[in-house]
Amino acid sequence: MVELKEYDSPVRPTWCRGCGDFGILNAMKRALVRAGLAPHEVIIYTGIGCGSKLPDYMTVNGFTSIHGRPIPIAQGAHLANHGLRAIVVAGDGDTYGIGGNHFVHALRRNADVTIIVQNNRVYGLTKGQYSPTSPKGFPSKTSPPPEGAIDQPVNPIALALAAGATFIARSWSGDLPHLVDMMVAAIRHRGAALLDVFQPCVTFNRNYAYDYYRPRVYRVGEEKGYDPTDHDAAWRKAHEWGERIPIGVIYRTEGKPAYEDQVPALNAGPLVKQPFRDWAEEDYEILEAEFI
């Protein structure tokens, strides 16, 4: 039985007081315990950004990588050893911007990785530039007024749905129990799972912090008649924004084979555990014959 304290670490986060990442860190530990996973059975891949330091503040396997690239690293690792749960934790810039290509392809492959996005709608660590999820008009040093950000923000839910994701959910740092529930569901889902988490950045994005989300978010799970397996309903829900912002499981479909289920070499178990082949003379003859 794994206990919460096994995930604790003496390393103090460098995050600002009030940062939404604390909620994500706390939820992550609880979710892993609830999912019955011990620190050595999990590996968390992160990119670059404040939030990507998360594994450093836990006792867990981790790989803090480069900006935009934890998703392919996680996929390659999971193909090599699917005995460990592969979880990607990265920011909105990392995942939807520079890593957007990998995001789309991991989803369409239904790779068995959990992607948790710390969506604070700004670039925090580099001090406040706009991000792929910043609203149009967002003022920053790379998007100065009066126009602010000219780009329309990415809609991660719709993008994920179009890419063929088999699990799409959303939560936020201000609701720890909900966040834990969503993380557990995402981690347990077989196939690619996206959990987009609104993560207030109290230093560089105060307009979209706790008092912005609290009155707006509502749980689709409590909405009568909402069926997350209904693709069309999910598409409409993905475009709901403004005064009411849906959180919860927006879309899920079970039963679609994960990428790894379709890789024959993995039928014999995790690739890393399969022994090196003992080459015999007849093996050499077969290889040789191909070229003669």
């Binding site: 011990a38 981790g62 480069i66 392919p72 390659g76 070499a265 080459w279 003669i292």
Partner: protein, 578 residues
């Protein structure tokens, strides 16, 4: 020069006419007759049209290079003759479709024999004009009186997948053209080819040799993005994935390719990727990630002319210094530049051992010429049985169980190499970190003293690795007036230039480098300093290896022979400049 079992065939035509497939097939047919062959191709970056050729040199003795002289030119289009007639020796011949108009007088004045054959007619009568290439090769075998059965065996094997009808049609076409040409022209043609008794030899190129080395060396994972001329590596591994339990992945881009390979290696599966210069450029940031996290990695870079898109189907040695320096910061890597298929095979498995021993990226740097040229080589020359798997400081299950203190992934040691635990063991839970870090993998991007210790730790690995880097091999007499220096695929053409030069004049020898980084300067320097005159021979414009030599040994070459027209070095090119 003897005219039996010693000649070059050259088949030319448009892309889409089957120049490569039929040329490669003919090379095999000759090899099945116990002969040595060297097959090289030249093709354009297009699917139809243009002009491609395949050149097959045959000999009784081992071959390491093509040569420029052609003895039998097979022209599927008039352009072949226009482009290549001046390569045909006096007494050589041209096979072409009897319907082609040509300057017969001009060619006859050059002493070239003309062999018109109804190639298209034969192909069409049997079923499809696409078989004109088979007819041309049948005619070539006929004119040289080569044993038809060797050709037939290759035709049967090559077309088997397309069904018995296609096999029979090609056999019929080949036979008819063979008989036509033999009856009519063999007596007039001085060059002939006859099988000899010899052990079977593999006709194999550099890319496939790397595949064999990697496979036997325990590689179980390959992720890559198709890029000429590296593509055939992932294609071969994918074709063999089912039989050998491999996982291959054609990724969305090269960054994903190197990313997946890093992830897989981190977990403990031997993983590789392969690309060309442009793809490698995309991989550069991740290369540093592997260096910083000390993740083993094998990358094959098959060079082609740059910069940018350059000449996709041609060859150059333009990326050497790039490989040595790519990615920001300073971290250990190992670079190998094999020059023959045998050396490619060896690098193929050795790279994985080096990567795991030193926990760093290992680059196998080849080029289009080596990737695609084939030679007939006995299996024993690859030393399959000598392949060893050495995983370096990998902690075993028992060692992990016995860990008494908390595991430090980046523990500082005398060699700089840390004991390596694969993720999954309860006593070795750790984070691999791309920021500067402490011994236990935690972020530490501020402390200056820790930084110095970690940088030194990583770079110290190179001081150990350099002991394993081999000296260049010396080919030719120990004493010479001129010492040629080369690396990678210059091996074959330069070796032959040395042989031919030494037949007639004063002596020349050749120092060939395969292990280039960390640079084996202590082993190389005495060899360089004892040379009378050093001439670097490189397939690039700026003499990159000569610059490397000077930087690390202080030795300046006396001269350079450089070729950068997108085509490989040849013995003649080197000889003309000696």
């Amino acid at each position: 020069m003897p005219k039996k079992n010693n000649m070059t065939f050259k088949i030319g035509g448009e892309a889409g006419q089957g120049v490569e497939s039929s040329g490669a097939g003919f090379a095999k047919a000759l090899a099945r007759g116990g002969l040595y062959v060297f097959g090289s191709q030249d093709y354009m970056s297009r699917i139809r049209g243009g002009h491609n050729f395949y050149q097959i040199r045959v000999s009784d003795g081992p071959l390491y290079s093509h040569t420029n002289e052609v003895h039998l030119l097979l022209a599927l289009v008039p352009e072949t003759i226009e482009r290549h007639k001046d390569e045909v020796v006096a007494g050589g011949g041209i096979i072409y479709d009897e319907g082609l108009e040509m300057d017969e007088e001009g060619l006859e004045r050059q002493g070239i024999e003309l062999f018109p054959v109804p190639l298209v007619k034969i192909a069409e009568e049997v079923g499809n004009r696409i078989m004109a290439n088979t007819a041309a090769l049948g005619a070539a075998a006929g004119v040289t009186e080569y044993d038809f059965e060797r050709m037939a065996s290759v035709i049967r094997d090559n077309f088997a997948k397309k069904g018995q009808q296609v096999v029979n049609a090609n056999l019929e076409v080949a036979r008819r053209a063979y008989d036509f040409a033999r009856e009519r022209y063999a007596a007039d043609f001085d060059y002939e080819v006859e099988p000899v008794e010899a052990p079977p030899r593999m006709v194999i190129n550099g890319n496939h040799a790397i595949c064999l080395g990697a496979l036997l060396g325990g590689c179980r994972f390959m992720s890559a993005y198709p890029m000429t001329p590296a593509t055939s590596i992932i294609e071969w591994m994918s074709a063999h994935a089912a039989r050998y339990g491999l996982v291959t992945k054609h990724t969305e881009d090269e960054i994903a390719a190197i990313g997946m390979a890093i992830g897989a290696n981190h977990m403990g599966v031997r993983a590789m990727t392969a690309t060309s210069g442009g793809g490698f450029s995309l991989m550069v940031e991740a290369l540093g990630l592997a260096g910083m996290t000390e993740t083993p990695l094998v990358v094959v870079e098959a060079q082609r002319p740059g910069p940018s898109t350059g000449m996709p189907t041609r060859t150059e040695q333009g990326d050497l210094l790039f490989m040595l320096r790519a990615s920001q910061g300073e971290f250990p890597r190992i670079v190998l530049t094999p020059g023959t298929a045998e050396q490619c095979f060896h690098a193929g498995w050795r790279a994985f051992n080096l990567a795991e021993q030193y926990q760093c990226p290992v680059i196998i740097l080849i080029d289009n010429f080596l990737a695609n040229s084939v030679r007939a080589i006995e299996r024993s020359k690859f030393h399959f049985v000598k392949v060893e798997i050495d995983r370096g400081e990998l902690l075993t299950e028992e060692e992990l169980n016995q860990l008494s203190e908390s595991y430090r992934r980046y523990a500082i040691t005398e060699t700089g190499i840390s004991p390596r635990a694969l993720p999954g063991h309860p006593k070795a839970v750790y984070v691999a970190c791309s920021d500067e870090h402490t011994e236990d993998g935690h972020f530490e991007d501020e402390d200056p003293e820790n930084r110095v210790r970690m940088v030194q730790k990583r770079l110290r690995k190179l001081e150990v690795a350099v002991e394993e880097m081999r000296a260049p091999t010396l080919y030719g007499p120990e004493q010479a007036d001129v010492t040629l220096i080369g690396w990678g695929s210059s091996y074959g053409p330069v070796r032959e230039a040395v042989d031919r030069f030494n037949e007639e004049k004063d002596k020349v020898n050749f120092l060939h480098f395969v292990d280039v980084w960390p640079f084996p300067k202590d082993k190389a320097r005495p060899l360089l300093e004892s040379a009378k005159r050093l001439v670097a021979v490189e397939n690039n414009a700026t003499g990159q290896f000569a610059r490397l030599l000077r930087a690390y040994t202080g030795v300046e070459v006396d001269d350079k022979i450089l070729k950068f027209d997108g085509r490989p070095l040849s013995p003649e090119y080197v000889l003309a400049r000696l």
